[in-house]
């Protein structure tokens, strides 16, 4: 194959199960620009880290559209005004500050920590639900429903509404993952319809919470007036949908990739069973080794940037290939080895800079608890298909199904 098609080979479905050799090839040209109008792909750790902190790089949806967005750029189109991940400061900062008030420190320092028992309870319930099965699809039975339930609790979606809520989320999430065999129009229509329904439902809930606020995040988003003022209803909806969409697929993939990796490294699965505290190191190493967001395809530069002797002209699209940077041998020793005891592990799994993943602490706790519980309760778990079937999506990369066999579920 020719050098010129490397980015296409990376996005091509056939490389989904193991894109890492292609990333290694990518790093050999640290700033790769293959065709006119195409993106500049940056793949070495230090360059990515530096660009994530570079004020000449924009996340603004308008700048991206002007740069000629590609199909990857549209993957997470929600039909709502741009959320803060697609804005630059000062708007980004203002919306993120408001969104953070009911979510984390300094105003709500205990919100996430206080969810630990909740998370454990949800995970236990899902594992109990395996019943007498000896083999399950971990995605459909566990990794997929878990984050939806969590986000419902966080936002304050009443328990009785959760089945309806999930019925809308399913097609939206499916819409994010184009079908290699076509049928996209139908899916996208279903996703759009579900978005409208979900939006109307959330708008109703916001109205209700404005009148009778509770302790949940939606109430606080709708009523909490800080120095930056109150969010409009549209901004509350945009933020809620962002938390839902951005937090969902990524968490599913982190958990599924996690279990897949542990089943491929049974010594660590055993160690985790004996010491649930190892889940902390496992999750950090997973974020390096199998990051749920493989690259950030939606940045542009608003000034010429010199990088490794290449001038990236103002207005260009830039791909920051996090998964390649995470295995850069200039940064990590023995980068292709999965080692949860690794100490020096400032991975790029959640990005960095002002757009660092908003839900990172929640994703960490969810995955730590999920993996520790699975390791503790599944007796003799085994991988049925290796590699498993993957989703189409090259950015949010993860198995579509993960068939796991086991002897029994421990109580």
């Amino acid at each position: 194959m020719t050098h010129a098609s490397l980015l296409r080979r990376i996005t091509d479905y056939s490389s989904r199960a193991d894109p890492y050799p292609l990333y290694e090839e990518l790093r050999r040209t640290p700033v790769l620009h293959e065709e006119d109008g195409g993106p500049y792909a940056v793949s070495s750790y230090w360059d990515i880290l530096s660009l994530l902190h570079d004020p000449r790089i924009s996340s603004d949806a308008g700048n991206l559209a002007a740069a000629g967005s590609d199909e990857l750029g549209e993957a997470e189109e929600t039909g709502l005004p741009p959320s803060f991940i697609r804005l630059d400061p000062p708007e980004h900062d203002r919306l993120r500050r408001i969104a953070n008030r009911p979510f984390g420190p300094p105003h709500s320092p205990h919100r996430i920590d206080a969810m630990r028992d909740d998370l454990t309870e949800i995970v236990s319930g899902l594992i109990d639900g395996f019943g007498d099965a000896k083999r399950i699809d971990l995605v459909d039975r566990f990794a997929y429903p878990f984050p939806v339930t969590v986000i419902c609790r966080l936002l304050g979606v009443p328990r009785e509404d959760q089945p309806r809520f999930r019925a809308w989320v399913d097609p939206i999430v499916a819409g994010l993952d184009p079908d290699p065999g076509g049928h996209d129009e139908e899916r996208l229509r279903a996703a759009q319809e579900a978005r409208v329904q979900l939006g109307m439902y959330l708008a109703g809930l916001v109205e209700q919470r404005r009148k009778e606020p509770r302790e949940d995040m939606l109430s606080r988003l709708a009523t909490d007036r800080g120095p930056d003022g109150l969010m409009t209803t549209m901004e509350v909806l945009t933020t809620a949908v962002l938390l839902l969409i951005a937090g969902h697929e990524t968490t599913v993939n982190l958990i599924t990739n996690g279990m897949l990796t542990l089943l491929r490294h049974p010594e660590f699965l055993r160690a985790l069973r004996e010491d649930p505290g190892l889940s902390v190191g496992i999750v950090e190493e997973l974020l390096r080794y199998e990051p749920p967001v493989q690259f950030i395809p939606r940045r542009t530069c608003i000034a010429d940037i010199e990088l490794r002797g290449v001038t990236i002209p103002k207005g260009s699209r830039i791909w920051l290939v996090l998964a390649a940077g995470n295995r850069d041998p200039e940064r990590f020793t023995d980068p292709d080895r999965f080692d949860p005891y690794r100490r020096d592990i400032q991975h790029l799994g959640f990005g960095s800079g002002i757009h660092i993943c908003f839900g990172a602490p929640l994703a960490r706790l969810e995955t730590q608890i999920a993996l520790a519980e699975l390791a503790g309760r599944l007796d003799n778990p085994r991988l049925v298909d290796d590699p498993p079937p993957y989703r189409q999506n090259a950015v949010l990369r993860g198995p579509r199904h993960l068939s796991v066999a086991f002897d029994s579920v421990r109580p």
Partner: protein, 81 residues
């Protein structure tokens, strides 16, 4: 357990303040304040916070030895307190 944060490295990502809220807190939007002597009951949360810091700015007792943060402080040969 003794803790120190390299606040030159710290960029206010606050992962520690999310994961160990009784040890680390934000004062304002990105100023970190913390208790340099965390109680033993904070061990698990502290381990989460140390691991989650995106810039590796948190040091606790024993974090260089490849072992989990140790139970007690390591004492010098003379301590006239």
């Amino acid at each position: 357990m003794r803790v120190v944060v390299d606040l030159n490295k710290c960029q206010g990502y606050a992962q520690c303040a999310f994961l160990a809220p009784d040890v680390f807190a934000l004062h304002g939007e990105e100023s970190l304040v913390y208790d340099p002597c965390a109680g033993d009951e904070q061990r698990a949360q502290l381990a989460r916070a140390v691991a989650a810091c995106p810039v590796g700015a948190i040091t606790a007792d024993g974090t260089d030895d490849g072992a989990a943060p140790s139970a007690g402080p390591v004492r010098g040969t003379s301590d006239d307190r």
